[in-house]
């Protein structure tokens, strides 16, 4: 159970509480040199004390902003807390952002100090230093490659600790005094929104908001100090902030930092988290991997897998929800658990998962059902940076694939006539930093936050989100067009990685497709199709046929749904390149930026609708090393079969 908050109204106060209450219990683990190294709560608090004293000595003052750039590392989390001890505001930045993208947050928040993970991040900060006069100090954690840096701004984390050590000796009471000055209403973090809709905005969240929401959800799920979480998503993202900072501080559970981003799967198997979060994209990638590996397995294994997955599909979800299931099915599921589900959960590193969440975007019903049928308690939640995440959570036993559940205690919800969801909650953000206009647009005078998401309450009082209010459109004949809904349906196929649907104000729906290069590559190898890479595969008729079959299956499904039967996809093309955040086509959290793509590929959209069989593209491509080049080729446009709507068939 989460602890009683009482007077512990800031994160530093919570840290000191844990150091007293459960000083010996693990707070953070990190795999280093092949071994999991543990920081106890006691050790964590000591590190934070020294850092805070060091940072104060180096001029970080109450109200200042400090940037944290890097992956999930114990020392970066310690720096986050140390800044809060001094009343400064930590601003985690996305570690894979290019240097230019970091300039805005640093200028906007007048960041004075930065803690960077390694040389890569230090280089980026040094690159933008001339545009960011406020930045005075850059501390690095990993000294590798940085020995010869002579810039006066660059200092090591260890030197900061040393400074802190001598300062703490001189004034022993300084740290406790500073922590005691903190108030729940102080700003605890500033997180920059991913910019799906507009330029990034700095969302300011208070200690009170974050602690309140973290505790509400922890109470609901009965999280305790023996839970374990794998911290593998970018720390600049609110979800990661909640799951690996706010909630451990509220409940005392332990977070584990993977060795590197490539070892996440192995590390997850070793750690065996009990509380897990994954955006649909990660779950999708895992399922794709499972599917590919099952296709490569021996015939008896494939047979077992098919056989028992059918059983799981039928009764797995019902068993998890505690609904009545026949004895024979129970027996079959038990056998399946021994032979298939158990081993599969183990391979996925989910053997011990008690509560798993997914959020960020809508999840395909089949994908969702796959995990639940394996006995993994995957649930959906709804929230955003502005709401400290937890707005809706599906309670155990009341899980549906197409809703995000009812409101979490403390949250008020209502819908506008335009179906926009409005939220009032203690977890709401304080403001968009230095942007009062955007703040007042998002949060009205009565304290309702306008989410921009369209949806409605289902008969059980669960919230169902269909799309962004501004993206929900109409076809020329006036029927509903919800592009994300269609794209999600397409993306459930392991072969399709990304889809962009067009149709607002037009007579029919057409789509761009990005296939999954691993899955299609594997498929091509099986058919002895030689290929060089994505672009090569994208021009093959065989691949077009494969994708067309997927689209036609979606069309067949859509024909069954009265409201969406007109949204069947008539024509499609396979893009010559993968959509990339570096080209501005996806956000850093990998959401499709539909409008930007429609503008950038305007001639391609035109070709989808004017009936031409191919279209010439000449594109600027940005290579990873920053150079640009041009690419030119002819893209094919293919038709897909559509079906007579079920409603119309009945009428006839």
């Amino acid at each position: 159970m989460a602890i009683d908050i009482g007077t512990l109204d800031t994160f530093p106060k919570l840290l000191l509480h844990h150091a007293r209450q459960r000083g010996g219990k693990p707070a953070i683990r990190e795999k280093d040199l092949g071994i999991w190294q543990t920081w106890s709560w006691h050790r964590f608090a000591d590190e934070v004390r020294l850092l805070a004293c060091g940072l104060a000595e180096q001029g970080l003052a109450r109200g200042d902003h400090i940037a944290l750039v890097g992956d999930n590392r114990p020392r970066l989390y310690a720096a986050m807390c140390a800044a809060q001890c001094l009343g400064a505001v930590p601003v985690p930045l996305y570690q894979d952002a290019v240097a230019a993208e970091m300039a805005f947050p640093i200028q906007n928040a007048q960041i004075t100090h930065a803690v960077a993970e390694d040389q890569e991040q230090v280089d980026k900060l040094l690159e933008i230093l001339p545009q960011c006069p406020s930045l005075k100090r850059i501390y690095y954690d990993d000294p590798r490659g940085l020995r010869h840096y002579r810039q006066p701004e660059v200092k090591s984390y260890d030197s900061l600790l040393d400074t802190g050590r001598s300062a703490a000796k001189l004034d022993g009471a300084f740290f406790e005094t500073e922590v005691a000055k903190g108030r729940g209403s102080d700003s605890a973090a500033m997180l920059f929104t991913s910019g799906t809709t507009a330029a990034a905005k700095g969302v300011v969240l208070t200690h009170h908001a974050l602690i309140d929401r973290a505790k509400a959800a922890a109470d609901m799920e009965k999280l305790g100090d023996d839970d374990v979480v794998l911290a593998y998503l970018p720390p600049a993202w609110i979800g990661q902030y909640i799951f690996s900072y706010a909630q451990p501080f509220v409940t005392g559970y332990c977070i584990c930092c993977p060795e590197s981003s490539e070892t996440v799967m192995t590390d997850m198997r070793e750690v065996g988290p009990t509380y897990y979060f994954a955006p649909p994209r990660v779950l999708e990638a895992l399922l794709t991997q499972v599917t590919i590996r099952m296709e490569d397995a021996a015939a008896p294994k494939r047979w077992l897998y098919r056989r028992f997955m059918a059983v799981a599909n039928r009764v797995g979800g019902a068993l998890l929800d505690g609904q009545p299931v026949g004895l024979l099915d129970r027996l079959a599921y038990f056998l399946g658990d021994l032979l298939v589900y158990g081993p599969l959960r183990n391979v996925l590193g989910m053997s011990r998962v008690r509560v798993a969440y997914t959020a960020g975007e809508a999840i395909g019903p089949d994908l969702f059902k796959f995990y639940r049928s394996l006995g993994i308690n995957l649930k959906q939640l709804y929230g955003s940076t502005e709401t400290s995440v937890f707005v809706c959570i599906q309670p155990d036993g009341h899980v549906k694939p197409d809703t995000v559940g009812p409101a979490v205690p403390g949250v008020e919800l209502r819908f506008t006539p335009e179906r926009e969801l409005l939220i009032r909650s203690p977890g709401l953000f304080k403001e968009y930093y230095k942007n009062p206009q955007a703040t007042s647009e998002a949060k009205d005078r009565e304290g309702w936050f306008h989410t921009g998401d369209a949806g409605y309450f289902d008969p059980d009082g669960h919230v169902k989100i269909i799309d962004r209010v501004k993206d929900v459109g109409q076809l020329a004949d006036g029927t509903l067009f919800a592009p994300k809904y269609l794209e999600n349906k397409l993306k459930f196929f392991p072969y399709i990685r990304e889809a962009v649907c067009f149709g607002h104000g037009r007579d029919k729906v057409c789509a761009f497709i990005n296939f999954d290069v691993d899955a299609v590559g594997n498929w091509a190898e099986k058919r002895n199709l030689p290929y060089t890479g994505y672009t090569d595969l994208a021009s093959r008729d065989e691949v077009y046929d494969l994708i067309r079959e997927c689209i036609e299956r979606v069309n067949a499904d859509l024909a069954q749904e009265p409201e969406l039967a007109n949204s069947q996809i008539h024509r499609f093309l396979i893009l010559h390149k993968e959509l990339d955040a570096d080209d501005g086509e996806l956000t850093r959290t990998r959401k499709v930026r539909r409008r930007h793509i429609a503008e950038r590929y305007e001639p391609l959209v035109r070709a989808l609708y004017d009936g031409s069989a191919s279209v010439h593209v000449e594109a600027q491509v940005k290579y990873e090393d920053g150079r640009t080049g041009t690419f030119s080729s002819d893209l094919k446009v293919h038709d897909a079969k559509t079906f007579v709507p079920a409603a119309a068939r009945k009428a006839a």
Partner: protein, 253 residues
């Protein structure tokens, strides 16, 4: 001066692989050996770590002079190398392969190892720590347990570099470390080579065909052609040297 080679000649029957080759390697430098195919580059490397025994000439390493080297002696004196054709144990994991690079540093005997006695255990842990540092350094944590045979070529090359580093060499000989790599793999490898030079202070001698790479990362270059040294100097000089240009482009006779 860590290594000097004086008037070394090597022949196989009538084939004169090296003729009166002399050059030296300064402490802590990156020294490149280049030349067209069959110029004797690999033979020269093989002479340096004692695989071939030259008919005449002298090699001075760390102020000791030898007529020829013995591979084991070369290794124990601090010379390690990688090979043009990867020479790893394909069925063993990356970790085990790199561990083999520590074998000259292991002091316990067979019986102690077999019984896993105190000293053997302590030794193994210390070596494992050293190997893990190399794994971290070369950023290959994700393939630690993967059998080498299943890795792509570029990664195998990196593992081979790791095994050579495990011997904690003072002089590291790299035989075409970037052959057959794509641009990105080459850039990675260049970075690792310079990092090795900087971080461990290792002196490097490397054979490489990619002129861009050679000119970028080496401090001095030796050029061989038909077993003879035709040029020796800093990259800018070599680039302008007419003999070198002729050797690479060919001249009308």
């Amino acid at each position: 001066m860590i290594l000097s080679v004086e008037n070394v000649s090597l022949s196989f029957g009538g084939v004169k692989a090296l003729q009166e080759v002399s050059f030296d390697v300064e402490q802590h430098e990156v020294r490149a050996i280049i030349g067209p195919n069959g110029a004797g580059k690999s033979s020269l490397l093989n002479v340096l770590n004692g695989v071939y025994h030259p008919q005449s000439g002298r090699i001075t390493f760390k102020e000791k002079t030898f007529e020829d080297m013995d591979p084991r002696q070369a290794a124990s004196m601090g010379i390690a190398r990688t090979f043009q054709n990867i020479a790893l144990f394909k069925g063993m994991s990356v970790l085990d392969n790199i561990m083999t690079g520590r074998n000259l540093k292991m002091g316990c005997n067979f019986l102690q190892q077999a019984l896993w006695l105190g000293p053997a255990r302590r030794e193994e842990l210390a070596h494992r720590h050293a190997v893990e540092e190399i794994i971290d350094f070369l950023e290959i944590e994700h393939i630690r347990r993967t059998p080498v045979g299943r890795l792509p070529y570029g990664l195998q090359k990196r593992v081979e570099l790791g095994r050579a580093l495990a011997a904690e060499p003072e002089l590291l000989l790299l035989d075409e470390p970037m052959a057959g790599m794509n641009l990105e793999e080459k850039q990675d490898m260049c970075r690792f080579i310079l990092d090795v030079n900087d971080h461990y202070g290792t002196t490097l001698v490397l054979i490489e065909h990619d002129m861009g790479v050679v000119m970028d990362i080496s401090s001095r270059v030796v050029v061989l052609d038909y077993g003879r040294k035709i040029a020796d100097g800093v990259p800018a000089e070599i680039r302008r040297n007419q003999k070198v240009i002729d050797a690479y482009l060919g001249v009308a006779h």
